[in-house]
Symmetry: D2
Subunit: 301 residues, 4 copies
């Protein structure tokens, strides 16, 4: 079974200025990330504005992403975000057939379904496919808390639900709890823009799924940590924090500024976001530009 | 322009036991409601499980609903529930072209967009079509509060955004506030299962959009009220309350029991709900059956 | 150990028109409820506006309540609402020394403490006293969900934490779950204005803790149910529902109208509520008056 | 009227190991902060665990704080946190009589009071005293959003409600909006641990109210910014971020670690927090210690 670890960024959804999905930029983005060293790319994370896409667009985006990834020999993780279990299972099967290497699944959250339904939803997706599956826990965004035992039961009872992306706040104790309850067997990814990358790596996380615009910074941090240069990783992390602290004050804000970075780096054509989005202003942009200049110089953007 | 008033229930989405949409039952349901006297039918309300449907299913359901309604000379209200403004505008145009008499729109709520974005979203939908449009305000379900002035501005600046479905709690003062701020010109519908039908009608509401399974009870209440028999309407309302109080303890619960009523009345084939849904038990069912028996006898179900 | 069951209403906090606590009305209210047949009275429920009182006022209110209850041979339940465990333990001991027959405890909720802290908080209160203790579960008001196993563990490990007031929505399945997990040993009270009194009694609840203004109606319902006249109880419940449905659209609203009923019945001097409260209007009052007239006639108010 | 600006940290509430308030440490803390250059000290912020204190403790803490501050010629801001307007007004008057230089007020949030009540609450406090008053806007912690016009109206109609502590997320646009709506007259303080100190200062904020344990770092940053060395301020801010990012993953966590810093610096006796608090672990502590060592060396702790 395909193994996933390392930096697997969330693919931003590029749009043209007319609001249509920009599949050409998507292709270029996928290739850039994988050729740039990313261990996999992840389609339809929250940072990918999945909730602003039609079913048809999502299908076409999967095709483009999988093809682009295969062209450059990279791996894809595709997220199943449908609310209804019946629909999610069909999407899961379709994404597998279309060539995804791994699935992610965001449990349904509208009207706050109970734990039993969330468990059954995720289990049904896992059972529907043969490829590995990752469960996403993002209570800050969804408003739905899930007790660790739901994930522990999934890990024990569903052989292919292997990976867990944990982005509650604070994530650390939750991660350590999951590790304890599974005798260290759970394979955990850091979410939430990697704000707690060092802490969660210390606790046993095997990778991170941040936004994609500064993938090279995350790769730098990950490699240093993986090679035992923890202090070097901390230094990279510390230099990244001012930018993250500035552009990640809310979710639509970081989505918007990730795209601005990607566009400025020439990886996608425009920074267009579908509405509702985030309105910036001159005060905000000034600091963004200052931090961008610093990062750009250091990483040769 | 088509005028909407009266009882315009939310169409339940009938499923077959295999989880597929049951278009045959949908057709029968639409006809039954309209032939039964409903002033219009509303597709894709929250009670219609719209969030469990694919884009393709929704499109086919619109076609079936519009055709069935036209066959019996009735009106349709179709809700635009897409999160992204760009996508919502396309859906709005498509629904208009497909023959909807009126649109409803549920403003986006994931990640809690700001008031300016909500206003622009609704305005864009209104501007995209020529048919009348209704704005839905359901903060209990969406978690997003909207100040009255957003709706007042819509009412003043967008000639075809005529109707407002108000289901905050308490709804009464909000309704009266809207009426004051628009010199009584706002056309308001009662939501929230009609729990405050009498109070909101006293305040000037012109109709209600409850679940569809007991449409004849709501029609009875509405007609009595409209004909000046307010006391008679209160009596109908009071007899309905025990059932509503029992089956509307949360949203998936009432969705599930509305369908059980529809199936028992022979209007749709099964009470199947896509997951996540609501698990009942014997205690709950016992009371439901008691109340059902009473209603069935009185209304000849 | 004192046994608690039946109708144990939440004492409203009477104020004078100048905003000071009206201890005279409090004394009269306590006596009226107990002489009227209430099985106990409960001080500092949410409906008692406990969060608007100073520590000193609360202490004096306990003294007045306990003395009034003892005068007429009735029982008191006093709620410990302090956020900090250290402070709550002191209040618990003080209330016991002052003569409370039973304590209630509202677990802390500000900043959403984790389950382990909530368990330790309640356990510490239980351990600090010898009288029986009741845990209150009111997630709708506090915003903090608590899993059933927290209460089950309390029931098993703390011999005097005997009673559980369950007012989540829906309460029924939660109640049945608690009963199953404790082999039917858990002693459960219905909260939430008794909206689900019949259902929860069917499930094994042994009493209810509604607001106090219509205590005689709740007693009527309870007695009929207890004597095996379930249908009679349902009829009382059905006649109560229109009033509850009208005045319990939000919490400050029912607090305000409970006091209006008490004042109109001559049990307390004024309906004054400390601010923030609820602003009524003529539309609302009209229906209230209609329902009041009906209840007053039936119950001889 | 006393003018407030600069760094006015929130006083941590020191406890003894037995859970009692440690007034001796409080006195030492207040003097240390003011002699260390803080422009004022703030009692009963959320970071001060105000919600874990009795009325009597709060009164004694005000006395100790005011006396200690006067001894060293410093200013005090005391927060009025009572839910009921009637009670809050009394506290406000008492704090003024006891010698506070300025009041802060946290608008009530339990049961989510409406905007009109929040306005009246704050206005009543302002009218009750002659000293300047600051309104705190902390929706992340309280769950209650307040529209800018409420604060603008207060600023215009209440001459002594001069200061506004803004800690929504993102704070920047809200701050700029307030400045625009008051022609730049509003005097705004940065909250939320100063995460957006630079951005909000660029937007016109005149000070910050962070936790107190690293007051010298905030003073360093503030002075550099005030003297025109914005780049120097950014550098200080960037070096502070790793620590803040680590210890401020939730509110009880930063409260707990602020005290650990204070105790390690010898300013208070113990790091004890009343329960519910935050449980740390070895992984967390390791990083904390690393960051502490760096800060300690740079600032001579």
């Amino acid at each position: 079974m395909t193994e996933i670890k390392g930096i697997c960024p969330i693919i931003a959804t590029p749009f043209l200025e007319n609001g249509e999905v920009d599949y050409e930029s998507l292709e270029n983005l996928v290739k850039s990330l994988l050729l740039g060293g990313c261990h996999a790319v992840t389609l339809f994370g929250i940072a990918g504005e999945y909730y602003k896409l039609t079913d048809e667009e999502r299908k076409k985006m999967v095709a483009v992403t999988v093809k682009a990834a295969k062209t450059v020999g990279g791996k894809t993780i595709i997220s199943v975000t449908d609310h209804a279990t019946e629909v999610a299972v069909k999407s899961a099967k379709m994404f597998e057939e279309m060539g995804a290497d791994c699935l992610m699944m965001l449990p349904p959250f509208f009207l706050k379904p109970g734990a039993a339904y969330l468990y059954e939803h995720m289990k049904a997706i896992g059972n529907a496919v043969k490829i590995p599956v990752m469960a996403q826990y993002a209570p800050e965004q969804t408003g739905v808390a899930i007790a660790p035992d739901v994930f522990v039961r999934l890990q024990k009872e569903c052989p292919n639900i292997i990976y867990y992306k944990i982005e509650c706040k604070p994530a650390g104790p939750y991660v350590t709890n999951l590790m304890k309850l599974t005798d260290g067997k759970m394979k955990i990814f850091v979410g939430n823009a990697g704000f707690q990358f060092i802490e969660c790596s210390d606790r046993g996380a095997i990778g991170a799924m941040p936004g994609c615009s500064m993938y090279d910074v995350y790769l730098d941090m990950y490699r240093k940590y993986a090679e035992g240069d923890r202090q070097g990783a901390i230094e990279v992390h510390n230099r990244l924090l001012p930018m993250l602290n500035h552009i990640r004050q809310n979710v639509e804000q970081i989505i918007s500024f990730e795209k601005r970075i990607l566009a400025r780096r020439g990886i996608i054509k425009t920074a267009y976001c579908r509405k509702p989005s985030y309105d910036t202003d001159a005060y905000f942009d000034k600091i963004f530009d200052e931090f961008y200049a610093e990062m750009a110089e250091r990483y040769g953007w």
